[in-house]
């Protein structure tokens, strides 16, 4: 919508407006759930499993129950509920068996946190320890223990997923395009390699927290640091068999989410405690350690790619197998597999494709959505692969990328045709390359290399992502005019820092033709008062809610014009307006102010006309379809955002130490609604991507205990870890159905940072790294052709970090 209007012709869109939430956050006034205390509120603490897999033989909480201040104790045995969005496979508390280290077994609510902790310590749980299955490749073996023996009895969304009862496979996604066998037979080269990455934690600075009050008459009030209030409500009602009118979810300011707070989390746990404690509100705030092992993480991935290339360097066939380690529960992880499946080639044209993607249960903390929704992980593989394929066939990797990149007329793997409006990945690649002077070293760089003895290398990597959401995903926005003619915007999409509300505000102001100051977006989201939004995920927020906001603004104006026509005794089609009033275009002095109509207008004789002015906008994703479960063909993507990173790195060959000297990031955002916010997303995501690339990841011992569930040994990047130079660019190929041509970019900045770095390190030193993160030691090992240190997980059967280059001329 309005995608063809030039930015220079717009008043608010494309400018760096003020962010409404900033002042409260800067002064400490912003209220988060962690800050909230309710009268009579109890504090919850949990007894958690010290084992990766064990039978719960006996739970004795008699001593704990007798301690002072203890108001409720619940165990899994009394909770016959299952939770889930896509595969309903998780219990509120472990029942019968624990499936991962850190899983909640018993919950206690007491007057104070100290009392709850003392009670937890007094609870005795007897376990019969069972052999866990820890590596996802082991979990596929015939004799592997089953993490969910009763998988066949679980509910799941059948239109999209295929669990395999009797195995550890929670979902098998297939994609078949063209004739792969024939194309491989005709290929000049065939290159097959394997890549991997571990589980990673989102690390929102505010850990998961919720307060729930289960009141009389089963009226449930939930305050949660959740990303998606309506989805929390929906899943909560399903689990407990309550009507949606009995449950209210409120979300105030949220201290970061990154996907970890999508779906449903700890709300049911607080709810059952509150119910048992006679309706007193119960608060549970995860400790940082619990954030790592009790709450979900990002799935680990092993990705095998076999590529057939023609004599001219065109990819003709690709065979792809993804093994996603969902951990103990696969509810959300199956959708990561599905979304990664249809995007698995990256932004390249693959005429003949064969893909199998498996979501695999193991006895580890469970995976969920994380910024990029699988794309960070598999782009690591794909973009390293492109580099290695190019190297194997003797072509420059950048040239190879351009040759195979999607362009108008190309078909994606699901058969969708790329058009002039889809976005321009080639331009992104070219600009990223230009920004780092790809291909050679400047004189300055040569001098630096000489002085330090460290080798400088440059690499690029491209990226793509479309929102992963049901094809009928919808949202709505309601505008209410206040007595003074200002406008309040209500929506249930949440803004936990990404700045969407600021952009929505600009869009509303733009479409209304009002000054920005007259528009307020209400910050707290509330399922009782806000109109529906599915979830705040998938980088779909601005696109869907932005469109709904435009439609709501148009509706408000239409309603106001109808009243004004009555007041001014004129045709509605003759009316015009500015930020204050509606007037007759050919008699501009004849006007009526918005303020005088906002809540109903009084005519001079006292008669009332109109009524409170509101505008409603609804938007539902258009033209999307379920993917065919046999061949994966269909239309899954409302918009594709493309991008590329270029990285300059210097590496010490003796030690594997490296510094990122520069990173240049380019995205085709359609239109930057608020350039500084786009830049904030670009840099924030880039640094998160760098964290994933250089240091983050779960480390387990042989029993499946997480060894690094804290910042002591799970580092995240600090200000000192920034690259020396950072540049951000946008390409603007407007999205026809995006608000003012915009498309999402929240997740994309994190994707492909790691492979760009891997490619640059390889260029500098020749180190072929197939496993991320790339710690200094990994680089050192790659340079010495030693086996990578395999401490991310117990021994992998096929050496998930190893990968023999099988470049061979065909035939």
């Amino acid at each position: 919508m309005f995608d063809t209007v030039k930015t220079s012709d717009l008043s608010h869109v494309g400018k760096n407006g003020h962010r409404e939430d900033t002042i409260e956050k800067l002064t400490g006034e912003a209220m988060y759930v962690s800050d909230m205390l309710l009268p009579g509120m109890l504090h919850a603490q949990l007894k958690k499993s010290p084992h990766a897999r064990a039978k719960i033989v006996k739970i004795d909480y008699s001593k704990a129950a007798a301690l002072p201040g203890v108001r409720a104790i619940v165990t899994g045995d009394e909770l016959d509920y299952r939770l889930g969005l896509y595969v309903v496979d998780k219990r509120i508390l472990a029942r019968g068996e624990v499936r991962h280290f850190g899983e909640a077994v018993v919950a206690v609510a007491a007057d104070t946190a100290e009392q709850a902790r003392a009670a937890v310590d007094a609870i005795e749980v007897e376990y019969e320890v069972l052999p866990p299955v820890l590596h996802h490749m082991d979990a596929l073996k015939d004799d592997a223990p089953l993490v969910h023996p009763e998988l066949g009895s679980y509910d799941y969304m059948a239109a999209a997923f295929t669990p395999k009862p009797g195995t550890n496979i929670a979902n098998h996604t297939k994609l078949r395009k063209g004739d792969v066998d024939k194309a491989f037979a005709e290929s000049e080269w065939i290159i097959e390699r394997e890549y991997s990455c571990p589980s990673v934690q989102h690390v929102p600075m505010e850990t998961h927290v919720a307060i729930v009050q289960w009141g009389k008459g089963d009226k449930v009030n939930i305050w949660s640091s959740a990303q998606s209030p309506f989805t929390v409500r929906n899943l909560f009602c399903h689990a407990f068999g309550l009507s949606h009118s009995q449950v209210r979810v409120q979300v105030p300011y949220v201290g970061g989410g990154f996907g970890g707070k999508a779906g449903i989390g700890i709300e049911p746990l607080c709810a059952v405690l509150s119910r048992k404690a006679g309706g007193r509100p119960v608060k549970f705030q995860a400790s940082r350690e619990e954030e790592f092992s009790l709450l979900p993480c990002r799935s680990a991935l092993t990705y095998r790619i076999k590529t057939g290339v023609s004599a001219t360097g065109k990819i003709v066939a690709q065979h792809m197998t993804m093994y996603w380690d969902s951990g103990a529960y696969a509810d959300y992880a199956v959708n990561v597999t599905r979304a990664s499946g249809f995007s698995a080639s990256g932004p390249y044209e693959i005429p003949n494709a064969w893909l199998d993607a498996y979501t695999i249960y193991t006895n580890k903390p469970y995976g969920t959505a994380y910024r990029g929704f699988g794309h960070v992980e598999f782009h690591w593989a794909v973009e390293r692969h492109m580099e290695l394929v190019a190297q194997a066939i003797g072509m420059d990797p950048f040239v190879f990328r351009l040759k195979n990149a999607l362009r108008p007329g190309s078909l994606t793997m699901t058969g969708e045709e790329i058009t002039e409006h889809t976005g321009n990945v080639i331009k992104c690649l070219e600009e990223a390359a230009k920004a780092i002077c790809y291909g050679n070293l400047t004189d300055e760089e040569k001098a630096r290399q000489k002085k330090t003895g460290w080798k400088i290398g440059k690499g690029v990597a491209a990226l793509q992502k479309a929102p992963a959401m049901p094809p009928f995903t919808a949202t709505s926005v309601v505008l209410k005019m206040n007595e003074d003619g200002s406008v309040l915007v209500n929506l249930a999409l949440t803004d936990y820092g990404q700045g969407t509300y600021t952009s929505v505000r600009q869009i509303v102001a733009e479409r209304l033709g009002f000054p920005l100051e007259k528009i307020k977006v209400a910050f707290e989201s509330d399922t009782d008062r806000d109109p529906y939004d599915w979830q705040t995920v998938a980088s779909k927020g601005l696109l869907l809610s932005g469109n709904a906001a435009i439609l709501a603004a148009e509706d408000l104006i239409k309603n106001a014009y109808a009243v004004a026509g009555e007041i001014l005794h004129c045709n509605v089609c003759d009316l015009g307006h500015d930020g204050d009033k509606i007037f007759i275009k050919h008699h501009p002095k004849k006007s009526v102010s918005f303020a005088s109509m906002a809540v109903g207008h009084a005519l001079p004789n006292g008669n009332g006309v109109g009524g409170p002015l509101i505008g409603v906008g609804r938007y539902i994703a258009q033209g999307l379809s379920n993917l065919n479960k046999e061949d994966g063909q269909g239309n899954p993507a409302i918009d594709w955002t493309y991008g590329a990173h270029g990285i300059i790195v210097e590496v010490c060959e003796e030690t594997g130490e490296f510094h990122v000297l520069k990173i240049a990031s380019v995205y085709d955002v359609g239109r930057a609604i608020h350039p500084e916010i786009v830049r904030g997303q670009a840099i924030g995501g880039m640094l998160q991507g760098l964290g994933t690339a250089i240091c983050e990841g779960y480390i387990y011992d042989q029993q499946g205990r997480l060894l690094n569930p804290s910042f002591t040994d799970n580092k995240i990047p600090t200000a000192k870890d920034l690259p020396l130079e950072i540049e951000c660019f946008v390409v603007e190929t407007p999205q026809v159905d995006g608000p003012y041509g915009a498309r999402g970019v929240g997740e994309h900045s994190m994707i492909s940072v790691a492979p760009a770095l891997g490619n640059a390190i390889q260029k500098a030193t020749g180190a072929e790294i197939m496993h991320m993160p790339m710690r200094f030691e990994d680089v050192w090992r790659a340079l010495r052709h030693k086996d990578p240190i395999d401490n991310w997980i117990t021994k992998s059967p096929i050496g998930s970090c190893r990968s023999a280059p099988e470049a061979r001329p065909n035939g």
């Binding site: 962690s34 505010e206 830049r679 670009a682 840099i683 924030g684 910042f711 660019f729 946008v730």
Partner: protein, 161 residues
């Protein structure tokens, strides 16, 4: 144990549990919830406050240790109607996303600027290395500090190509 502590210029006399951290005392006993807990382990800096004029992690201090001390928290900034210069610069430079790290960040920057009128970029990074921010990637925070010290020329911007 009874303590007397001056917080943001106001004297408080309170009976406090001896095992309680200063962070929890500020948040729970005094209702000053601007100071946040991100880890409780001294790593993340969300709990940064001034303790007798120097920034420290309030999760690593017992409330009883603050007996007789002067504490300054985010609530003590901008006591008038307008923001302080640091806050203004952070607002202008889009330095805030989810805001959870922000109060601690403001404290660290304040101490830095008290000791050094025009810190270099490495000095700024060093001053905030103990303040984790998962959202912003720090750059726009660093730019706010440059801005407040009159060096806005060094700021980057989104380039359209």
């Amino acid at each position: 144990m009874k303590i007397k502590v001056t917080v943001n210029g106001q004297l408080y006399e309170r009976d406090v549990l001896e095992h309680k951290t200063l962070l929890r005392f500020l948040r729970e006993d005094l209702g000053l919830t601007g100071t946040k807990e991100g880890c409780g382990m001294g790593e993340c800096g969300a709990c940064t406050v001034f303790f007798n004029g120097k920034v420290m992690n309030s999760c690593m201090i017992l409330a009883v240790e603050a007996d007789g001390a002067t504490i300054d928290t985010i609530e003590g900034e901008s006591r008038g109607p307008s923001l302080t210069d640091i806050q203004k610069a952070m607002e202008k430079n889009n330095s805030v996303q989810c805001g959870f790290c922000t109060p601690g960040m403001v404290m660290s920057i304040k101490e830095l600027l008290q000791n050094k009128a025009k810190p270099s970029i490495p000095e700024i990074k060093e001053a905030i290395e103990g303040n984790f921010c998962r959202c912003t990637g720090y750059v726009q925070i660093i730019e706010a500090v440059l801005d407040v010290t009159g060096r806005s020329k060094e700021k980057g911007e989104l380039k359209h190509v």
